[in-house]
Symmetry: C2
Subunit: 224 residues, 2 copies
DNA sequence: ACCTGAACACCGTTCAAGT
DNA sequence: ACCTGAACACCGTTCAAGT
């Protein structure tokens, strides 16, 4: 009666475990590796098994996005100035996405399609409204600010931080070499910045500056 | 001796014509439709024919990116304040990419891999250096500012402007309906902004505001 | 130089079937 | 309820061959 335990870790599948697998797979091998067939294989199961839990791949991706958005630790509303609260929210979003650089772009367009994403969006819109932005201005600015968080991750100079060890070092060296080989007469500033464009020495200051730029920009859009 | 003209428009293939085809195909049917096989078919040719002109798909995409980046009309350097010149460059980038919303994300990561992209990057880095940014700060800020231009396009509320007519209207209505159906108690600000989040009435002011936010943000990063 | 044809290893997905 | 197996219409790409 007891299902034969073959010694392998083959458990019963569930949406949650599949989503787990999808995230670790993408983090480890990149977005291209995140296919139904690879994922099924990772779970020791037929590709078609996944279709019982998700009726198409898009559903899986929605679920992945929701999981990531659920990781955003929204700060409680306070009496602090709106710009300060906005910064805290942006940082919370950033912190949730930073461990998953290849998936950040996936979560973003699904913000308005998921429960935790909507909570996030509502908070941002509320803050901007309180700051005096009109509905339309707030919508556009809010969309942009959240998107810019993903951008910050994707635009970080150098290869993704998910890449580790020798593989990452090699990528950095390759990039630096290709930039260094350019004509100094034609691209002097690029050459001077070759190192800084090939790798980012301190993520934390990089992200802090990015957030700062956006918050101050938003502040200056509304002439206090 | 003269090649028989079959009456069809079947010309000899070239990198340029293939790139042309790729851009119009992507603009018309989206990024997913941009496959080697579809593209070959569009040119009345075997898929393998393209491999004579590009040794893999990545090469094709590089060429597409280069073409788009070549469309950036870089303004001549002037005596104007750096922030003003920066804004002009960002606007030039934006103007080149706006007609190709689905391809904007493709051009961006190839800026440092193409001649026109490098010219652009060098100008941005030069301006930021002149403004007093250190090399590292300038690299990070410059990368982010250019990326943010693509973001602005991608994050524009509503479906892509490349979509036209009834198809677009239907998408807008669907989005508005789904947002409008939410609980007003839980997501009051999202509901209030349902219209503004479903479609963007005036692109020009939207983009102008986005650029303004970024330029002022960059300005305020350096306390003049 | 420029293109075709057959083949390979992959995709997502449907549909009928097993337990 | 949960999963398998065979099949279909797609991918990118290699390799040998035609003109």
């Amino acid at each position: 009666m007891v299902p034969k335990s073959t010694g392998t870790t083959r458990e019963r599948l569930s949406r949650d475990t599949v989503v787990d697998g999808a995230i670790t797979l993408a983090d480890r091998e990149g977005l291209d590796a995140l296919t139904i067939r690879r994922l099924a294989q990772e779970h020791g199961v037929t590709p078609m098994a996944l279709y019982w839990h998700f009726h198409e791949k898009e559903d899986l991706l929605d679920a992945v996005a929701e999981r990531l958005l659920n990781g955003v630790r929204l700060p409680e509303p306070t009496d602090a100035p709106w710009a300060e609260q906005l910064r805290a929210i942006l940082v919370a979003y950033l912190d949730a996405m930073r461990p998953h650089p290849v998936l950040a772009g996936l979560a973003l367009p699904r913000v308005l399609k998921s429960e935790p994403g909507l909570r996030l969006a509502d908070r941002v819109l509320g803050l901007l409204a309180a700051a005096g932005f009109g509905t339309e201005e707030a919508s556009q600015t809010g969309s942009f600010l959240l998107s810019a968080m993903s951008t910050l991750i994707t635009a970080e100079p150098g290869p993704h931080k998910a890449l580790r060890g020798e593989e990452r070092d090699a990528a950095v060296r390759a990039k630096r070499a290709s930039l260094g080989a350019l004509s100094p007469a034609r691209f002097p500033h690029v050459i001077a910045a070759a190192d800084a464009l090939s790798d980012c020495p301190d993520d934390d200051v990089y992200y802090a500056r990015g957030v700062e730029l956006l918050v101050r920009g938003a502040q200056n859009l509304r002439p206090a």
